[in-house]
């Protein structure tokens, strides 16, 4: 046990561990001080931090660009919600179905693409296509109420029912915080495993990796399946937090884009990048809302224009993302942290 912990934290500079610890403590204590608005923002940040890490396994570690991660969110959300609505099966049991469903979808895309050597841009567009296919398909699937939307029963809850995920946002906050921390630990373990090095070899030069004897098909498949399965958990939480699901919202391409902006802005392939990216982008969006509101500007689209300009500036100025730059600034130059 001690050995595992030593390995997990080994190689991270002392200062990094302290900063990470302070951040974690601050996040644990946050609901004590945060109002309901700030809490909602924090939930959103953690949600994107978690999914960003899941996406990063596929793109950042193994180099496979997925532009359709909304597919796995949606499959997770719809599977768990439909089981709950139709059979009264709780979300944690539902998760046992949702994760395999999403993982299977990931395996399907991966199998088709990697077997036929569909790569790069073509792979990215295949992932969009499957997600769009699912969006229109769910629009017409009567079992999940089609485009009319699937609603989970909502009532006033006197206590937090963790088993059925019915209750106060604080409960969701701590679930997502736990998930984000576990994902960070899991990602570090993966990245430092034998498989993690194989992934990075594939990312850097797939031909070379194959000639070095790495079964690239197998390891790319594993990356997609892990990423899809992890993402579907966020979908389950989404379903039980918002209590309503519309294919047009859940599976839409803009959801997929939202998911990957965080890790790209934070730093693709880094461990902390997706988390930092989620803080930056969600923080930016909320700051813009507040600022425009404060200035009395009520123009639909104005916020998104500023958001787009900020994205543009970040990507032009910091091509590798914010975290690699910030890491150097605060003196944490250790690789892979």
């Amino acid at each position: 046990m001690g050995g595992i912990i030593a390995r997990l934290f080994g190689g991270i500079p002392r200062r990094g561990l302290i900063l990470l610890g302070v951040l974690l403590l601050a996040l644990i204590a946050a609901p004590l001080f945060a109002g309901s608005y700030l809490l909602t923002v924090l939930i959103l940040i953690l949600y994107f931090a978690y999914i960003g890490q899941a996406w990063n396994i596929m793109m950042g570690f193994a180099g496979q660009l997925s532009l359709g991660h909304a597919l796995y969110v949606g499959l997770g959300a719809y599977t768990a919600a439909a089981l709950y609505v139709h059979f009264g099966i709780g979300p944690w049991i539902g998760l046992l179905v949702a994760v395999p469903v999403a993982a299977l979808a990931g395996a399907f895309i991966g199998f088709l693409a990697f077997r036929f050597r569909v790569g790069g841009v073509y792979f990215a567009i295949l992932t969009i296509a499957v997600a769009e296919f699912a969006r229109v398909g769910f629009d017409h699937l009567t079992w999940t109420k089609g485009s009319a939307g699937l609603f989970l029963p909502v009532a006033q809850y006197t206590h937090n029912d963790l088993w059925n995920l019915r209750g106060h946002p604080v409960m969701f906050y701590y679930i997502l915080l736990t998930a984000t921390v576990l994902a960070l630990i899991g990602c570090r373990a993966l990245l430092q495993s034998r498989m993690g090095y194989f992934w990075q070899a594939i990312r850097e030069d797939e031909e070379a990796a194959r000639s070095a004897g790495i079964d690239t098909f197998y390891y790319k498949m594993v990356a997609v399946v892990i990423s899809a399965g992890m993402t579907s958990f966020a979908g389950v939480i989404y379903a039980f937090f918002y209590n309503n699901l519309f294919p047009e919202q859940v599976f839409h391409i803009s959801r997929s884009i939202e998911i990957i902006l965080g890790p790209i802005v934070g730093g693709v392939g880094t461990l902390f990048g997706p988390i930092l990216g989620a803080f930056i982008l969600t923080g930016l969006a909320e700051t813009l809302s507040a600022t425009l509101e404060g200035l009395g500007i009520d123009l639909p689209g104005a916020k998104q224009v500023f958001y787009g300009i900020c994205l543009l500036l970040v990507i032009v100025a910091l091509p590798d993302g914010v975290w690699p730059w910030l890491r150097k600034r605060i003196g944490l130059t250790e690789r892979g942290s």
Binding site: L65, L112, V121, E132, G308, L311, L312
Partner: protein, 290 residues
């Protein structure tokens, strides 16, 4: 349903598909030469459509006449985008280029939203409700004009790439980047020209498509996706492939809309894309990439 209905819808689908093909041709030319996937493609087309709406409202210009000036405006937009922004991204990884163009797309959609509001707009020409009758066939005049214009623009582009010096130089860049640099071609300027030309296709296609469809600021991403589907179906980088893909997808959407439900039509387009990626990843007319 009588057979004429199917035939009518099929012909309408093919004509719309030719305009789609022109739009996708722009994407294909840009990717084939610059090797950047233009994720703001559909958004640029909605810009062209709104320019057409403004010109129509102010000067009552017929879309068939506006086609050239709007294509020229979009050429300028594309040239500036490539020269000012994208050129410095050509050696960066795909996800970096993707983020850049997504940011551009977000800005475009929302600037349009601020200026024009969220409602659908269209234009009414003198021939909006005309139709030609050929035997049992009834074809919308607007679709015929749009498709003919799309064919003319496509032919002009083909001729440009085949017979002019600049066109040949651009093809040289596409074939061999290093070789083009070695023989002293100004690759960055040629890239900007190419992006401009691709954008001009979109400008022309958008103007023509306004004869057939409404436009909303939010329509951009759907057109971007449509262009991807068409280009990959036809073969990324293949000019005839883009046109063929456009016709195929236009036909598929029209038939699916008739036989199933209009809201399910894009599912069939994506279904075709998945099939093509599986069995012929280089596309129908594409050459096998290394």
């Amino acid at each position: 349903m009588p057979a004429e209905v199917y035939l009518n819808v099929a012909v309408g689908g093919v004509l719309t598909g030719l305009v789609y093909g022109l739009m996708a041709l722009g994407l294909s030319v840009i990717f084939g030469v610059v090797r950047v996937v233009n994720f703001a493609h559909g958004e640029m087309m909605t810009i062209a459509m709104y320019i057409a709406i403004v010109l129509f409202a102010t000067f009552r210009l017929d879309p068939l006449i506006m086609l050239l000036p709007i294509a020229a405006l979009l050429f300028g937009l594309g040239y500036v985008m490539q020269a000012g922004l994208i050129n410095r991204f050509i050696t960066r990884p795909e996800h970096s280029q993707f983020l850049l163009l997504v940011a551009v797309a977000i800005i475009m959609i929302n600037v349009l939203l601020i200026i024009f509001g969220p409602d659908a707009q269209n234009i009414q020409t003198a021939y909006s409700y005309d139709s030609f009758q050929i035997g049992p066939l009834i074809v919308d005049a607007a679709k015929v004009y749009a498709a003919c214009a799309a064919l003319v623009v496509t032919a002009a582009l083909f001729a440009f790439f085949r017979y002019t010096h600049i066109g040949t130089a651009i093809r040289a860049c596409a074939d061999n980047y290093t070789g083009a640099l070695v023989v002293g071609l100004d690759v960055k300027r040629l890239y900007a020209l190419t992006f401009g030309l691709g954008s001009a296709c979109v400008g022309a296609a958008g103007t023509m498509l306004l004869l057939i469809f409404d436009v909303t600021p939010a329509a951009g991403p759907a057109y971007t996706l449509l262009a991807f589907v068409i280009v990959i179906t036809g073969g990324l980088g293949s000019m005839p492939g883009a046109l063929l893909g456009g016709v195929l997808i236009g036909l598929t959407e029209a038939m699916a809309g008739l036989m199933f439900s209009p809201s399910a039509k894009s599912m069939f387009a994506f279904g075709i894309l998945v099939l093509v990626l599986l069995f012929r990843p280089q596309g129908i007319m594409g050459k096998r990439a290394a």
